[in-house]
């Protein structure tokens, strides 16, 4: 039996719902806030970013200052080398944070490169469809099975360790996933009324893709970005570990781990601090990416 009271309650509930409409984003933000791991990760990541940007300027040492009197000294507060020094007496605290700057910068820029290529390619293939789509996605399939990591290594070997080359090379191998995901989304988006309306108004195809399709891909793109950044950082670290990434005296977390690993028996701190920062950052990005995915697509829970 539905009583008048029930109906009233339902109506007031209804009006409340109308008063405070819940968009996809506020809904997702709500769910993300409930995810303790993700929130902790966001905070940690902010702290790391802030440290990396600000903290080196508070240290009395610079990242490339060599002190032959203090070679591989353990961390100590007294001489202000709070992470110790490396094998040629450079301050590890500043170097770790400086390397973090490089790693994060490469992570963000190379991700943007891969985003740009992936979105343009995927949205074009998905929107135009037909034979163009088939050919474009077939190319992606072929490239997908190619072991690009090796080619990036080759690029670095042949053309020197150029930092811009790293950005482009890493970005260029990471766009394939993005292109696939974006294409899938575009296929469903292009049948929506607002696209039809745009076509009816005579808007050109590139403009429709740019103004009407791409903005609506934002949700999936955000999730993907948080999952791509750690991958890119990992690739860069891998290259730097092989001695093919950023060049001395510049450094990155991967390069520092490489140096630290070489004399870890006598100076384990030179390995542990950069490794800790690298792992924590990757950890945070992965947790945030996972959290965002769950928040935007709660199907899996």
């Amino acid at each position: 039996m539905v009583t008048a009271k029930d109906i009233n309650a339902l109506q007031s509930l209804n009006s409340q719902e109308e008063l405070k409409g819940r968009s996809l984003w506020s809904d997702a933000a709500q769910r993300l806030k409930m995810n303790k791991a993700a929130v902790t990760s966001v905070i940690l990541l902010l702290i790391i970013t802030l440290l990396v940007i600000v903290a080196p300027s508070f240290s009395p040492y610079s990242f490339d200052e060599i002190d032959w009197d203090l070679i591989s000294t353990p961390p100590s507060i007294e001489n202000m080398h709070i992470f110790g020094t490396d094998a040629i007496g450079r301050d590890l605290f500043v170097r770790t944070l400086y390397g973090g700057r490089m790693s994060l910068l490469i992570g963000v820029i190379a991700t943007l490169v891969s985003l740009f290529i992936g979105i343009t390619y995927g949205a074009t293939a998905g929107y135009i469809g037909g034979r163009t789509d088939t050919i474009m996605m077939r190319i992606v399939d072929i490239l997908y099975a190619t072991p690009f990591m090796f080619f990036v290594i080759l690029l670095m070997v042949f053309f020197g360790r150029n930092i811009y080359l790293i950005f482009i090379a890493i970005g260029a191998i990471n766009w394939l996933d993005m292109a696939r995901i974006v294409r899938g989304q575009t296929l469903s988006l292009k049948r929506k009324e607002f696209v039809e309306a745009a076509i009816a108004c005579g808007v050109s195809t590139p403009r429709i893709i740019l103004r009407h399709i791409v903005p609506n891909l934002l949700g999936i793109v955000v999730v993907y970005v948080t999952l791509t950044i750690p991958q890119v950082i990992l690739v860069e670290s891998f290259l730097s570990f092989l001695g093919l990434g950023v060049q001395e005296p510049d450094t990155s977390w991967g390069a520092l781990v490489n140096e630290g690993a070489q004399d870890m028996e006598i100076a384990p701190w030179a390995l542990l601090f950069p490794a800790g920062f690298l792992a924590t950052t990757l950890f945070c990005f992965n947790f945030i990416g996972d959290g965002l995915r769950d928040a935007l697509d709660p199907k899996d829970r």
Partner: protein, 306 residues
């Protein structure tokens, strides 16, 4: 089935061609010739060398020759190790790499799917959270960080295991490299397995099996395991590629004489043919493995019609 296999087989060739073409033109675009030394060679000797290695022919002809040689399984001579051909170097290193990589991929598959299944069956319990937290850690610690840490702990600190070296493949020498190679993929696979198992356990066929009153054991082993394994199987292709790439670093760290180490040394010594040979060899391996994975997947997945 035969037609499907055949189609996939044909589909693998363009990738191979892209791989070889990229390899060839990158090598040719590389600054400096293979015989550049500190001393400039007399022009006659240079010409002779060029002739011997066919460097005097037009590029397109060299490209054709390169493909033809590859088709016959000939990777050419090594520039650095003058007495060896790249084939011989690969033949020396590959058994070592195969043993490490093969063990790693098999272990990752079994341990990963076992852990994932356990976590899925105990969803939202302490067991589940522990496994998933461990998996997240495994994903976030790259293998080139993990390997030195393992050496630091087990070789330097506890002195249980050797820090490196191959020692003709003694078992104790393989333990740490295999752990370092396997762990990240155990982590990936267990996460993948957990989510796909959870999805399968909620599906209608499993509900029916439960309704029939089948014992839980039978439900998991006979009905849920196969469909839940499908995403894991399709992940094995990328996983193999990853383990092969990882082995480059791992062999370098542990000083293991596999092809991965040749690759790094070749890269540092600018031994172009060796580096190229390793890339193409690994590429072919990865493509072949992807093909096998595709076919196995089709065999297991009743939804794929061929």
């Amino acid at each position: 089935m035969l037609r499907f296999t055949l189609r996939r087989f044909i589909g693998a060739w363009p990738t191979l061609l892209v791989l070889m073409t990229l390899a060839f033109f990158m090598m040719r675009a590389a600054p400096g010739g293979p015989f550049d030394t500190e001393k400039t060679l007399p022009p006659e000797i240079q010409a002779n060398l060029d002739k011997k290695y066919h460097l005097d022919e037009p590029l397109i002809q060299q490209y054709g020759r390169y493909l033809l040689d590859l088709a016959q399984g000939d990777f050419g001579p090594s520039f650095q190790y003058k007495d060896y051909s790249v084939n011989e170097l690969i033949a020396q290193g590959f058994p070592v790499s195969l043993r490490l990589g093969g063990t790693a991929i098999i272990l990752a598959f079994f341990i990963g799917s076992l852990l994932g299944t356990i976590a899925a069956l105990r969803q939202n319990t302490a067991t589940d959270y522990t496994v998933m937290a461990a998996a997240m850690t495994g994903i976030s610690i790259p293998n080139f960080v993990l390997a030195p840490l393992l050496i630091l702990l087990f070789a330097v600190h506890l002195q249980w295991l050797p820090a490196g070296g191959w020692n003709d493949g003694a078992f104790v020498n393989t333990i740490l490299p295999i752990i370092a190679l396997t762990l990240p993929y155990v982590a990936y696979i267990s996460r993948l397995m957990r989510s796909s198992m959870i999805e399968v356990l909620r599906s209608n066929p499993i509900r029916t099996a439960r309704a029939k009153g089948l014992p839980e054991r039978t439900i998991i082993l006979r009905h849920a395991l196969k469909p839940a394994l499908l995403p894991v199987i399709s992940f094995l292709g990328p996983a193999t590629a990853g383990i092969i790439t990882g082995s480059v670093v791992i062999e370098q760290i542990f000083g293991i004489p596999g092809i991965g180490r040749y690759f790094v040394q070749g890269a540092l010594n600018r031994d172009y043919t060796l580096v190229m040979g390793v890339v193409v060899f690994y590429g072919i391996l990865i493509i072949a493995f992807n093909f096998i994975v595709d076919v196995v997947y089709a065999l297991l997945d009743p939804k794929i019609r061929y």
